[in-house]
Symmetry: C2
């Protein structure tokens, strides 16, 4: 039977992603990852190093996916609303990523992988907002980097504290999710609107 190194690595990464997402770095065991991947523990160490390295690799892979990410189509209040809506959708469809980032934020507050790259990514968006403010398409009431951040907040908080969202809305139906999205879009428009 032929080797399938790439396949084995993939199975390990997928299992690791599931476990880390669910239980976090400390709650996850290498034994469990190996078992879920149908692989011997030693393979995990040999391919990916220790637990911390594996967590970082998993997180990086997921971050790379979102980096493709969500573009801002138009820098008008309407466009900003749609952007926030898409952020909301993305968070809703990928609760994994939110959880991973939170685990990382709590467990390893110091080191951010690919920090420079992410800074550049955010800076690009912020600059675009800034230009749209200068040209008068967007309100300049908020500094562009704060506008950028607060849009993430509006769209992301629902996935960060789902219990609070649940307690506050008394509802978890599909219709409620649609209402939440509409509220996020409306709120984003208001942050962007010129008087």
């Amino acid at each position: 039977m032929a080797w399938d190194v790439a396949g084995t690595k993939r199975k390990i990464l997928d299992a690791a992603a599931r476990e880390f997402t669910q239980r976090g770095p400390d709650g996850t065991t290498m034994e469990r990852i190996a078992k879920l991947a149908g692989v011997n523990k030693e393979r995990v160490y040999n391919y990916f190093g220790g637990k911390h390295e594996l967590f970082e690799i998993v997180l990086r892979e997921k971050l790379a996916i979102i980096a493709e990410a969500i573009p801002v189509d138009s820098f008008t209040p309407e466009g900003i609303g749609e952007y926030a809506g898409k952020l909301f959708d993305y968070n809703y469809e990928h609760p994994d990523l939110v959880r991973l980032v939170l685990w990382e934020a709590l467990s390893f507050p110091a080191d951010v992988p690919e920090e420079q790259q992410r800074r550049d990514y955010y800076a690009g968006k912020t600059n675009s907002f800034g230009e749209a403010q200068t040209s008068g398409d967007l309100s300049a009431a908020l500094p562009p980097e704060h506008l950028n951040f607060l849009l993430l907040a509006l769209a992301g908080y629902w996935s960060v504290l789902p219990q609070v969202a649940r307690m506050m809305t008394n509802d978890q139906s599909v219709a409620e999710v649609a209402r939440r999205r509409a509220s996020v879009v409306e709120a984003a428009r208001r942050l962007a609107a010129t008087p």
Copy 2:
């Protein structure tokens, strides 16, 4: 030498709060808590039960403090802005609480301590918002429970993802914190404003 049961309990609770805040439920060890409290491990088990119980007790105590909480003084856009500003201040001054709640959200998504009580607390605020909308003081563009939630998002996200805030603003100075606060206040006003 006289017993000091209350004092011992307090020392344990304080040490536990520090450790859980820093390392989360899985990263914290009972041994370490006992050592930090200057107490034998057995005392911890005898007074507070197992690790999970202790975590819940610590979290409840902190939540009780915030339940005193932050009132909304006036239900006008200005009042809402000030409310959001105070929420921001509270989060900024008590990063412990945010971290504890996040650990809990990630580690035990199912069980929320004092759920009914917290529901009532949120419902009270939501109702007040609803009335202010009916009377025309606040915009009715957002359902009151969503307005409530989004205000928490604007004020809280900075403490939830401090690395992202740092990368996006390239600044951690006291002045930047004040700017962030101002942006939160302005954003909250905009969510509340009538046209």
